[in-house]
Amino acid sequence: MTVTAMLVLAAGTYGFRVAGPLLRQWLVRRRGNTGESGEVALPPRLTELMSTAATVLLVALIATSSLTSGGGFAGVALPAGVATAGVLAWRKVPFVFVVIAAAGVAAGLRALGVP
């Protein structure tokens, strides 16, 4: 690992991060709006598309990180923990308990020898 490699990774990651807000600002400007009312300046269809895209990515991230590990099946303990969290969150249990329950179920199952 070299400092150069690290800085390339940092710069590239920041580039991805800053590109979204800048691109959105550019879209607003292009429509002749100075940005004072940025959110309402874009067509609702487009803002809906962008926010749905973020939700789709988050759900895909949840699915892949809870069901797969290193390209294979993640075992039982991890998905069981996340599934417990899903049920609790759906039943409107406060966030902090949902997270603790997920970790607790996964840790408990692993302590019992479940993969």
Binding site: G20, G86, A103
Partner: protein
């Protein structure tokens, strides 16, 4: 700063504290693994400040430790971070309207700060929550990394503590209300299915990006009324 804190309700402060605690432990584990892989402690710590993307950091260190090439490692890690672009597109105005806010706020863009901000219905609250979550997680991630890198031994295995389940669980709890809308739910389910099916075959990061094909569910289908109009 103070106005951000005042906008946060006590339950939100508690939620952020819980997630910060979990990130602190994972950060500690990153610090120890990076040092074990041969990185000097200052480099492991600096990487967490300038990259601030846990998944990609574990990935580069893992590839390098396994004897893989540096270019492959960095390109793979960047691929994993490409999802930040569409995230930024969705939450752009949340960062703030000034240039310093946009440029600095962009660095705090991670899955959790995006999910926290998107779970708020009121824009003012969303902005406060985004900054609070981003700053809290940035600080705890970096404290954890320095502690782990200095300690030089694994203090606790995050997986044994079930923390690998805590992060998807937190995101799930935050994203669930948005899934009440039928179109969003259909797009998300299709996307997740595509990502899962692609995971065994494609490098990490790409399957999640492929999930965006789920957005075809947003294409309007002819409704009953449209068809009735077309018939007249």
């Amino acid at each position: 700063m103070r106005s951000i804190w005042r906008t946060l309700t006590p339950p939100l402060r508690r939620d952020l504290l819980a997630l910060s605690g979990a990130i602190l432990v994972v950060g500690t584990s990153f610090g120890t693994i990076a040092v074990a892989a041969g990185l000097p402690w200052w480099m492991a710590s600096l990487m967490s400040v300038v990259v601030f993307a846990g998944g990609s950091q574990f990935m580069v260190v893992g590839v390098v430790a396994a004897g893989g090439g540096l270019v492959t490692a960095v390109l793979g890690a960047l691929l994993l971070n490409a999802r930040h672009l569409p995230f930024g597109l969705a939450i752009g105005p949340v960062l703030g309207r000034t240039w310093p806010a946009r440029l600095l706020g962009s660095h705090l863009l991670i899955d959790e700060s995006v999910a926290f901000a998107m779970a708020q219905s009121e824009p003012r609250r969303a902005r406060a929550v985004y900054w609070a979550a981003g700053l809290a997680l940035f600080v705890s991630w970096n404290i954890g990394c320095v502690a782990g890198a200095m300690a030089g031994q694994v203090i606790g295995d995050p997986d044994a503590l079930g923390l690998d389940a805590a992060f998807p669980a937190a995101l799930l709890a935050l994203v669930l209300p948005a899934l009440r809308e039928t179109r969003v739910r259909r797009a998300s389910l299709l996307g997740a299915g595509v990502a899962l099916a692609a995971t065994p075959f494609l490098p990490p990061g790409v399957p999640v990006l492929l999930a965006l094909v789920g957005l075809v569910m947003l294409v309007p289908t002819p409704t009953g009324r449209d068809r009735a109009e077309a018939a007249t």
